[in-house]
Amino acid sequence: MDFMQKSVAPSVETPLLSVQGLTKRYGARIGCADIGFDLFPGEVLGIVGESGSGKSTLLSCLAGHLAPDEGQVIFDTASGPRDTVTMPEAERRRMARTDWAYVHQNPRDGLRMGVSAGGNVGERLMAIGARHYGEIRETAVDWLGRVEIAADRIDDRPRAFSGGMQQRLQIARNLVTGPRLVFMDEPTGGLDVSVQARLLDLLRGLVREMGLSAIIVTHDLAVVRLLADRLMVMKGGYVVEQGLTDQVLDDPQHAYTQLLVSSVLQV
């Protein structure tokens, strides 16, 4: 069973992702500056901060959507650790289709709205070489089921889906290829709280069963408390505090984090 292997930790662990000195400037303005961290297999890292703190810029640099000005993003590929910043574009794209996944805040940015739900999932499989129609459709049905979309909706286009369903479809499309690292930009943003809860439950289960590592950008502290093992707090492009999620939230050390935590409305 694959989940039994997870509990047998190797004696020496190699980080899945190792980030060093990552900096991105927009002219004279700082997008994000001197970011460094290691992410290990199976870990979920939350990045929080208010609008303009640089968290989305950082995520874009990590995922290869933006070229950083300085720094390294070293990913533990099948052939050993490689700096994804300096690797050829074609190779980075191949990795983005296989080892990585990116869940956008707005499902419209991550889905093809004119293609059926099954097509959205199958397309990713075909991009990595699947050709057998029956098998592709079978895998698509399986994944729609895992994200709680009924099989009889497989031929419907995402346009006909609710926001929560669209987001779950985007997750299925991203995870069908069995990535090792998932980038998520405000995955529960714009959803009703009840739909958010369902999505959180789904993501937690998938992370555990697939042994995924994930980096989640959000401004919602409740989301990171439930999903993230570790937390980085950003302000003005810099990481001002990082640590174990409940430690950062329950005993924040930096003035900004204290303000952030004390500003949350209790329900």
Partner: protein
């Protein structure tokens, strides 16, 4: 199993004039395997603060907190995550769960995280829930809508699902009726019998007298200047 030495703690409130509040100084205690140690002292004396430092969600200013060979005070987040998965359990006073997740899954989750097969994990969850008198018709519902006493029992079931070698219990018998209080005390005695080291806070004096082998008064750790 749990050993604390020279532990101190202060809070710095940056948004209130950077006030530094020392709350603990030179704390020391140890809990051997199979032993239950109770923390005593008035409200605000630092019992929960000490427990949270052992759990790792409060940072220590200085000192050593050894739990099964790991110094929580200086450990990396992922080492603490592993410690919490394998070695150290915590029954807090509050249940914090993803809404919508069924009670039975909430209780089984620590075992699923350890890689226990789902059927086995759910069977173990079911037997604990039954023992703690949570009606079976509630198992498929989220505990977020349960009464305080029911949530407390779900929390206890979750904390006892895996046989952790070390356990932190924050008022495990508060808000329970006599029957369920008895079940919880029996669970604690069984955990001790299998060799668990337990550090607990019990306001219920009879419960404390029954399960605790020793007590430690946290007022001994109050910073001298503030005393």
């Amino acid at each position: 199993m749990i050993e604390i030495r020279n532990l101190s703690k202060s809070f710095t409130l940056h948004n209130q004039g950077s006030a530094v509040i020392p709350v603990m100084q030179d704390a020391a205690l140890h809990v051997a395997a199979g032993e239950c140690v109770g923390l005593i002292g008035a409200s605000g004396a630092g019992k929960s603060t000490l427990m949270r430092m052992v759990w790792g969600n409060y940072l220590a200013a200085s000192g050593v907190i050894r739990v099964g060979g790991l110094d929580v005070a200086s450990a990396e987040p992922r080492q603490i995550i592993r410690l919490r998965r394998d070695t150290l359990g915590y029954v807090s006073q509050f249940l914090r769960v993803v809404p919508r997740v069924p009670t039975r899954e909430v209780v089984a989750e620590p075992l699923l995280n350890l890689g226990v097969p789902p059927d086995q994990a759910r069977d173990r969850a079911a037997s604990l829930l039954a023992r703690l008198n949570i009606p079976e018709r509630l198992w498929s519902l989220s505990p977020t809508t349960f009464s305080g006493g029911e949530q407390q029992r779900v929390n206890i079931a979750r904390g006892f699902a895996h046989g952790y070698p070390a356990l932190l219990l924050d008022e495990p018998t508060a808000s329970l009726d006599a029957t369920n209080r008895e079940v919880v005390l029996a669970l604690i005695e069984e955990a001790k019998a299998r060799g668990a080291a337990i550090l607990g806070i019990f306001h219920d004096e009879a419960a404390r007298a029954r399960v605790c082998d020793r007590v430690v008064d946290v007022r001994d750790f109050t910073p001298k200047a503030a005393a």
